[in-house]
Symmetry: D2
Subunit: 282 residues, 4 copies
Amino acid sequence: MEKITETRVLDHGVVALLEIMGSDKTIADSARISYNKESTKQTSTDEQLIRYLVRHRHTSPLEMGIVRFYLKLPIFVARQLVRHRTASLNEVSGRYSELPDDMYVPDRSQLGSQSTDNKQGRAAVDDDDVDAYAYHQNIIEQAGTDAYEEYQWLLQQSVSREISRIVLPLATYTEMIWSCDVHNFLHFLKLRLDPHAQYEMRVFAQAMHDAVEPHFPIVFKAFNDYILHAHTLSAAELNLLSKLLQNSEVEHLPTLDEAQQLGMSTREHTEFTTWLESLLKR
Amino acid sequence: MEKITETRVLDHGVVALLEIMGSDKTIADSARISYNKESTKQTSTDEQLIRYLVRHRHTSPLEMGIVRFYLKLPIFVARQLVRHRTASLNEVSGRYSELPDDMYVPDRSQLGSQSTDNKQGRAAVDDDDVDAYAYHQNIIEQAGTDAYEEYQWLLQQSVSREISRIVLPLATYTEMIWSCDVHNFLHFLKLRLDPHAQYEMRVFAQAMHDAVEPHFPIVFKAFNDYILHAHTLSAAELNLLSKLLQNSEVEHLPTLDEAQQLGMSTREHTEFTTWLESLLKR
Amino acid sequence: MEKITETRVLDHGVVALLEIMGSDKTIADSARISYNKESTKQTSTDEQLIRYLVRHRHTSPLEMGIVRFYLKLPIFVARQLVRHRTASLNEVSGRYSELPDDMYVPDRSQLGSQSTDNKQGRAAVDDDDVDAYAYHQNIIEQAGTDAYEEYQWLLQQSVSREISRIVLPLATYTEMIWSCDVHNFLHFLKLRLDPHAQYEMRVFAQAMHDAVEPHFPIVFKAFNDYILHAHTLSAAELNLLSKLLQNSEVEHLPTLDEAQQLGMSTREHTEFTTWLESLLKR
Amino acid sequence: MEKITETRVLDHGVVALLEIMGSDKTIADSARISYNKESTKQTSTDEQLIRYLVRHRHTSPLEMGIVRFYLKLPIFVARQLVRHRTASLNEVSGRYSELPDDMYVPDRSQLGSQSTDNKQGRAAVDDDDVDAYAYHQNIIEQAGTDAYEEYQWLLQQSVSREISRIVLPLATYTEMIWSCDVHNFLHFLKLRLDPHAQYEMRVFAQAMHDAVEPHFPIVFKAFNDYILHAHTLSAAELNLLSKLLQNSEVEHLPTLDEAQQLGMSTREHTEFTTWLESLLKR
C-alpha cells in the first residue's frame, strides 16, 4: 500500500495516512451550491466561508472531504475507535490468520496510579515510585509473553484459530484500514483529543490529526478556533457571568450558594470557578 | 392508528405522537451499565446522572429512548425534516395514490418581506402593508388551487399518477410516520428550534418538542439548561472576555480593532458585542 | 468545479462525476487486511478476491471507494435520491437564493397512462394517442410556466424567498453535490435501476452508473453478475424447483394449487411461473 | 432493570430482552401510509402486506419496530456485534469500574481443530481426541485465571484501572445494553446465524432471535421464507439452470468446463453442484 505519511505511535503502533479526497476548496465549493454561487464567490473567500460554516455548525459540506488510514493499534484502543459508527473499517481477523506477537507495554511514564479526581483516568507518575513502575511494567510485559505462548501452544495443538485467540490480552496489537469523512473525523478528534480520553487513544488521535491537518489547513484552523478551544457556558453559567459582569468587583467569584440557587451542582460550581480563575489569569 | 397526543399545526398540519420507548429511567439505567452500577445507584439519582450525561455530551445512553410520530406537513418542510438521516420514515407516495387537496397558505402574519439581516429568512410584518399581505396570500392560495386542478385534469386524462403529481407545488401537504432516537431528536430540535430555521419548520419542531417533553422531563430540562440555552464562546471570544474581566471598566465593549487583532471578522465582532450587551442587561 | 465526466439527462438534467477515491485495487487491499495478507496476495488476484467479496456480500471493503457527483435533477427525483441516508449531500437552498426557471417537461414518449399491472408506474405509450400526449405535455409545460411567473411576481413584491418558492412545482430542477461510498452506491443502483423505479429516477441512476463503472471495472462486473442480474428464490420457490427438477416432464409448470400448498400467494405463483418460462426460453 | 425474557448462553452469558417497541401491526400500518390507506386496509391483511414488504425488500417500515437487550457476552463476541453500526449500545467500561472474574471457557464439544474446508472456522470434534480436548480446555481456563490474577495484582498495586485491564484476555465477559430497529436486527441475524459465523456469536444471535420472534410473528415468518431460507442464483448460475431445465437428462450436473465457459470459478462450480444435488435430494 502506498502511504502519504507514516508515524510511529506508542511502542509498536503505526498511523499511516493512505489517501485524502477533497480539500478546503472542495468543502467551500460544496457549501456554495447552497447559495447563489456566483455572488458568493465574489464576496466570500474559501477561508471566510469555511470559518462561517464551522462557527455555525453547518457541517454537511465537511462530509465532502474523506480520509483513509492504515492503523496498527492495541485492541483496547481499537475498541474505542470502533464506537465512531460513521467510519468504515476493515480489521485483521484472528479467525482467518494467526496474529503476530505484538503487545503494548506502557512506558513507565504512563504507569501512574488511579486518578483521584478523574474517575476514569490515571494520575501523573511520582518520581519516588520509579522502582515500582519498573516492576509493574515487567508484570504487564510478562503477562503478554505468557499469553502469546499459550496462544501459540494452542495453535500447535491444532485448536482452531478462532478459539486459540481468546487467550490473547486486550494489549495485543491489531491492524485496520479506517476511513471517515472530515466532519465526523473532527467530531472524533474533539472527543479523543480531550484530556479525559485515555492517553493511548489520545496519542493515536493526535497523530491522525497531525497527518490530516496540512491537507485541510483552513478547516483545521477553524476547528481549533471554534470547536477545540471553544468553551460552552450553560444557562446557569451565563446567569452567573451576567451578574459578575454587572458587578463592580469582578474578582468576586460566585459562591456555591449563588450557584446552587441557579440549580447548579457542587461539581458544576467547582468547574465554573476553575474556568473563571483560569480566564482571569490569561 | 392510536395516538398519545395530537396537535394541529399551521393550517392543515398535524403532529401526532404515536409511541414512546423508554423513559428518563431507561436512559439513566443504560448509562449505569458503563459504571460500577451498584455504587452509582447509591451515589447518583437519575436526575444527577442524566444532567451529567447531557452536560458532558455523553450522548449514547440517550439513544435508548425512541419517539414515533405521525406528521402531516407541507413538502417544503418535509424536505428539511428528511435531512436528519438517523431518523426512519415512511411517507405517502404520489406514485401509489392520489394526493388530497391540501395546500399550505401562510397566514398574513407570516408574509413579511425578505429579511435584510438574515439572508435566509423573512422580516416581521409591517402594519402598513396589511392590504398587500392579503393580496399576496390570495396569489399563493390561487396558485395552489390552479395546480391542484391541473393535477386532477391530468389524472382524469389517465396520465400516470407519478407524472401528474409533478405539477403540484412545494406547498402541498404530505404525510409520514417518523421515528427517531432521543439523542438525535434533541439534535434535530436544537437545529430546527433555532431562530434561523424557517418559521414553518420551527412550529413543527416546537409541537414535536412539546409532545415528547413530558415523557422525558429530566432529559428535556437538561437539554434546555446545557444545550438549547447554552452559549459557546470561540477561542478569540474567550480572549476578549478574559481581557474584559481583567479590566476595571467592564462596560467598555471590545472595539472592532481589538477583535480583528484576535482574528475575528466584522460579523463575529458584531455578534460578540451583541451577545455581551444582552448579557449586561439581563 | 472540475469534472471528470458530464452527461446530459432528461431535458435540463446533468450528471457530472467530480471525484473518485480509490479503485478496485484499494478495495482488494482493504479486504486483504482481514486475511494473512502475504499469502492472499500470492493466491488471489484482485479480481478473484473482489468477486468473492461481492458474491458473499462481504461489503465493508467496498466502503473504501467513494464517488462524488454534481447533479441537476427535478425535485421529485431529488426526493427519492435523498432517501439513501448514507450519502452526503449539499443542495441549493431556495431560502438563500432565487431558483432559476428550469422545469422538467416529460417527453411525449413518457406520457403513457397509469399502468394496470404496476401499481406505481406507467404504461407504454400508444401510437393512437399521439395528439393527446402533445396536449398533456403542453398542460404540464404551461403549469410550470405559470408557477414560475407567480414565483417571480411574489419575489418582486418582496415576499421572502423562503415563502415565494412554495408555489414552485415538484418538476422544478434543483442542484446538489452528492457523495457516497461504493457499497452504498451499488445498493442505490440496485434499487434505482430496477424496472419498478420511476423512469426519471432510472435515467439518473443509469448515468451515474455509467460514469463510475470505468473507475471500478472489476467491482461493477461482479455487481452485474452476482447482484443486478442475480435472482433470489424463496423457500417455497426452492421447493417447487426441487419437485420440478425431480420430475421427468420439466415443462410442466407448477399449478396455483401446488404453489398455495407451499404457502405462496397467487401473485407469487404468477411471478414464479413467469420467471420459469423466461428461464426455459433463454 | 425489568426484563421480558432472560436466557443463559454459553457458560456465563446472558441474553435478556428488555423492551420492544411496535408490533407486526405497527409495521403494516407504517407501510400503509405509502399507499391509499383505506383501500389497502380493505384489500391486504397485515400478513399479506408484511410478506409483500419482506419479499420485495421494502425495508423502511421494518425500521419502525425496535428491540432493546441486556447482553453479557465475551469480548471477542462483542467485537463482532459492535460492527453492526446502526445499533445503539452502552457497554461496561474497564476505565470506570473493576471488571468481574468471568471468563469464557469453551465446552469440550467446541474444541474441534481448525477446519480444512472453512478458512475461518473449526471442524467437528473427534471422539478419539477427548483427552486432548480436556487438556486444551484446562489450558484456556488456566490462562484466564492467571490473567485475572495479574489484573487483580496490578489493581492492588494501584496501577490505574484503564491500564490494569489490558492484561485481560478476549475471553473476558463484558456487559451491554444494545438496541436496534427490526430491519437492521434481521440483517444482523442473517449474517450471524449463518453457518460461517463463529459458533459463540451464533448462539447469541439465536437466543436474540428466539426472544424477539414471538413479538413480530408475521415478520419473522416472512424473514424465514424470503431471506433466511432463500437462495440467490448468480447470472451464470441462472444460465446453467436454464440449460439444465431445457435438457431431458436433468440429473446431468454441469461440468466444471461448462461452468468456466460462463465465467464461474472452480469454487463457484463446486458450490453450485452441491446446491443442485441437495435440491435433487429434498
